[in-house]
Amino acid sequence: MSSDNSDYGLGQVRAQVKRVPNLFLLDTSGSMKKETEDPDGNDRKKIEQLNDGLELFNDEIGNDFEAKEGVDVSVVTFGGGVEVEQDFRPIKEWVEGSGPPKLSASGRTPMSEAITEGLENLKNYKESVDNNNLGRHRALVWLLTDGRPDNTNGDKWDAAQQSIEAFTQNDSIFFWAVGIGEEADTQTLSNLVAGCPDDATDVFNMEPNKFNEFFKLASASATGASKGEGEESASDYSQEYKEE
C-alpha cells in the first residue's frame, strides 16, 4: 500500500540499530463490530478496542529509543477480504507521523489467505533488509482473532500452515496465535501451528476485553527484541502475560 518506494523505508533508518520486523495479522471480520465491555467497564465495539490497542502499541514503542528506531511494522487484516493495510515500514513513521491506520470491520474471516500474504511480504522485506546490510532480529508475527477462520482445511489452509512451518523451521519468525474472547477457536489455532517447532510458536486465549493487554505484550516483545535480550522461545515473551 504505502510503499512509495521499494526499499520499505530502509534507506533512512539508523544502520546501527537492528531491524525488528513486527507483523500483525488482525481479524477485522464482522464479529469485530460487536460490543464488549472494555477494561474501564464501558461497552465498546471490539474493532474500536483493537484500534486503541494499536495506538497503545505505537505509544509504547515510541517511548523506547531502540524500539522506535528499530521496529518495522506491517498490518494485514482479514475481514471480508485480505487487506495489506501497511507493508513493512519503520514504526518511526507512525510515531512521528499520524499513528497507526484506523481499521474497520466487516465480512467473513479469510485468515489463511492473510497469513500467506503477510508472510510473503515478510520474505520480500527481509531480502531488502539484507540488501541494505542491516542487522535484523527474528520477526515477531502476531495473529489475533475473535472467532474461527473460514477454512480449516483445503488448499488455503494448507498453504497457510506450510508458510508458518517454513518460517518457523528456519528460525525466521516467532509466531503467536491469540484468540480473544470465548468464541475464539483456540483449538483451530493450535492445529494451525501443530507442525511447527514448539519453541517458535505459542497459542493462547485472552479475555474478551484484553485488547490492550495483547498490544502491551506485543510492544514489550518488540522492545525486548530490539534490545536483543536473546529470548529463545516464543513463550519466553508471552509467559508472563498468560499467567495474568
Partner: protein, 409 residues
C-alpha cells in the same frame, strides 16, 4: 515493565544497620524487585527484591557490600535492608542519582557523539571513563558479565553511571557469586565464557572493546560488515561470523553508512587502532587459550584508559590520521600499573612488544618527553611524543602488519 504483582512496600518499617527507616514511594520496578525512596531521605534509595529472589541475593549483596569498588559513579549496594520486625533480608540501600533524563550508552552514542557534533576529547573521555569503571570493578575482584548498555547511563554532561550492579559476577575471597545473564550485542563469541571470574573478566574485556568502539564510531558495531563474505541476519550472527572490517580481511568491508576505513584511520590514534586490532581481529575475538601470546590478548581496561588519555585535539584534522604522529607511553611506570590490574594474566609487555613490532619505524620513543609540550600540542600528559610525520602512504604499514598477523592465524 514486568510483573509487578509483588505489592508495594511503601510505608513499611525496615532496619538498616540498626536504624529503623520507613520505605517511601516506589520509583521503579523490574524483574527482580523495585526501587523505593526512603522517608525523610533524599540521597539514598532502597532496592527491595521480590520475595522469591531474596534467598538468592542475600549472600551476594553482603559480599558486594564487603567488597566495594568505591567508585562514585558505580551504584553499588551500601547496606543491607532488613524487615524491622522479623530481621529478614529484603534488599539493600544505595546512593540515589536522578537519571530520568540520562540516556543509555547506545542511545547517547548515536544521538550525542556524532563526529560532526562532538570533539574527539569528548568521545575519548566518555570511553575512558567507562574503562576506569571496569578497572575499578576488576581490581576489586569482580567482573561485569551482563554488559548491557541499558545499565550504562550517561547524563547530558557526559557523566557515566553504572547501575544494576547486583547482576555482576561477584567474588568475596574464594567465594564466587556468578550470574548467567549476558548481552549478545557485546558478548564475545564464547558468551560469558564460563563461570569463573577469569573467564568473565576476559569476556568483559571484549565487551568493553565493543562499547569503546561504539563510543568512538558513532554507535556502529565492530562486526557490522558488508561484502561477499559478510553475514546477513541478526547481530549475533554478524558478530560470530563476520571479521573485523577495519583491517584487511578479504570480503569484509564497513557498511556504507558506517565510517570508512580511511576515516577510521584518520580519527583513531595508532594506539587505539592497535588495541582494536588486539580486541577484534580473529586472534582477539576468539578466546585466548592459556598460553597464547599476550600481544593477541584482548586489551585490559587499564590499557584502554591509557590509550584514551593520549590524543591530540586537533579537531580531527586530516594530518592527524597519518600514522606518523602518535603517542607512545612505554615508560615502565605506567606498565607496571597496567600489569597490576590482573594477576592471572601477566600483561607486562603488550604495549611495548606490540608497538615495537607494529609501529616500527613510525614512532620515536623518548622515555621522558618533557620537551614535547613545546611542540605542536598542549596535552597535559607529558608522555606524549610527537614524531616525525610520514604522511606519504601511511596506510601501508598498518596493513602489512595486519597481513602478518593474519598469516599467523
Amino acid at each position: 515493565m514486568g510483573s509487578s504483582n509483588e505489592g508495594t512496600h511503601t510505608g513499611m518499617d525496615v532496619s538498616v544497620e540498626g536504624t529503623t527507616l520507613t520505605v517511601s514511594d516506589k520509583i521503579d520496578s523490574g524483574n527482580e524487585g523495585a526501587i523505593y525512596k526512603i522517608k525523610n531521605t533524599e540521597d539514598e534509595v532502597f532496592k527491595i527484591f521480590n520475595d522469591k529472589k531474596r534467598s538468592d541475593k542475600k549472600r551476594k549483596i553482603t559480599a558486594m557490600i564487603a567488597n566495594d569498588p568505591n567508585h562514585p559513579a558505580i551504584i553499588w549496594p551500601q547496606a543491607v535492608v532488613k524487615d524491622a520486625n522479623t530481621g529478614a533480608f529484603l534488599g539493600y540501600q544505595m546512593k540515589y542519582k536522578d537519571l530520568d533524563t540520562a540516556q543509555n550508552a547506545f542511545e547517547y552514542t548515536m544521538t550525542q557523539l556524532s563526529w560532526d557534533s562532538t570533539e574527539k576529547s569528548h568521545r575519548y573521555t566518555v570511553a575512558k571513563n567507562l574503562a576506569i569503571m571496569v578497572s575499578a570493578i576488576h581490581n576489586e575482584g569482580h567482573a561485569i558479565g551482563d554488559f548491557n548498555h541499558d545499565n550504562i547511563l550517561i547524563d547530558n554532561n557526559g557523566q557515566i553511571t553504572l547501575i544494576d550492579c547486583d547482576g555482576f559476577h561477584i567474588t568475596d575471597g574464594d567465594i564466587e557469586f556468578p550470574d548467567d545473564t549476558y548481552y549478545p550485542r557485546y558478548a564475545p563469541p564464547e558468551g560469558r565464557g564460563g563461570n569463573t571470574i577469569s573467564n568473565v573478566k576476559e569476556a568483559d574485556r571484549f565487551c568493553l572493546g565493543v562499547h569503546i568502539f561504539q563510543f568512538l564510531m558513532e554507535g556502529f558495531h565492530p562486526y557490522h560488515a558488508k561484502g561477499p563474505n559478510a553475514e546477513n541476519g541478526n547481530m549475533e550472527d554478524k558478530l560470530k561470523n563476520n571479521k573485523f572490517p577495519y583491517v584487511d580481511y578479504e570480503g569484509y568491508n564497513p557498511i556504507d553508512s558506517a565510517p570508512s576505513v580511511d576515516d577510521y584511520e584518520k580519527k583513531m590514534t595508532d594506539e587505539i587502532q592497535s588495541l582494536f586490532r588486539r580486541c577484534f581481529t580473529e586472534s582477539g575475538k576468539h578466546k585466548a587459550t592459556e598460553n597464547i601470546a599476550t600481544e593477541t590478548n584482548r586489551p585490559n581496561p587499564k590499557e584502554w584508559e591509557e590509550a584514551l588519555s593520549n590524543f591530540r585535539e586537533t579537531g580531527d584534522s586530516p594530518e592527524e590520521g597519518t600514522s606518523g604522529v602518535k603517542v607512545v607511553t612505554p615508560n615502565s611506570g605506567s606498565q607496571d600499573e597496567s600489569s597490576g590490574e590482573e594477576s592471572e594474566v601477566s600483561i607486562v609487555t603488550p604495549e611495548s612488544a606490540g608497538n615495537t613490532k607494529e609501529d616500527a619505524g613510525i614512532d620515536v620513543v623518548t622515555p621522558n618527553s618533557s620537551g614535547a609540550n613545546s611542540q605542536e600540542q598542549e596535552d597535559d600528559e607529558d608522555e606524549i611524543t610527537p614524531v616525525m610525520p610520514e604522511d606519504d602512504d601511511d596506510e601501508n604499514k598498518p596493513m602489512s602488519t595486519e597481513n602478518k598477523e593474519d598469516n599467523k592465524n
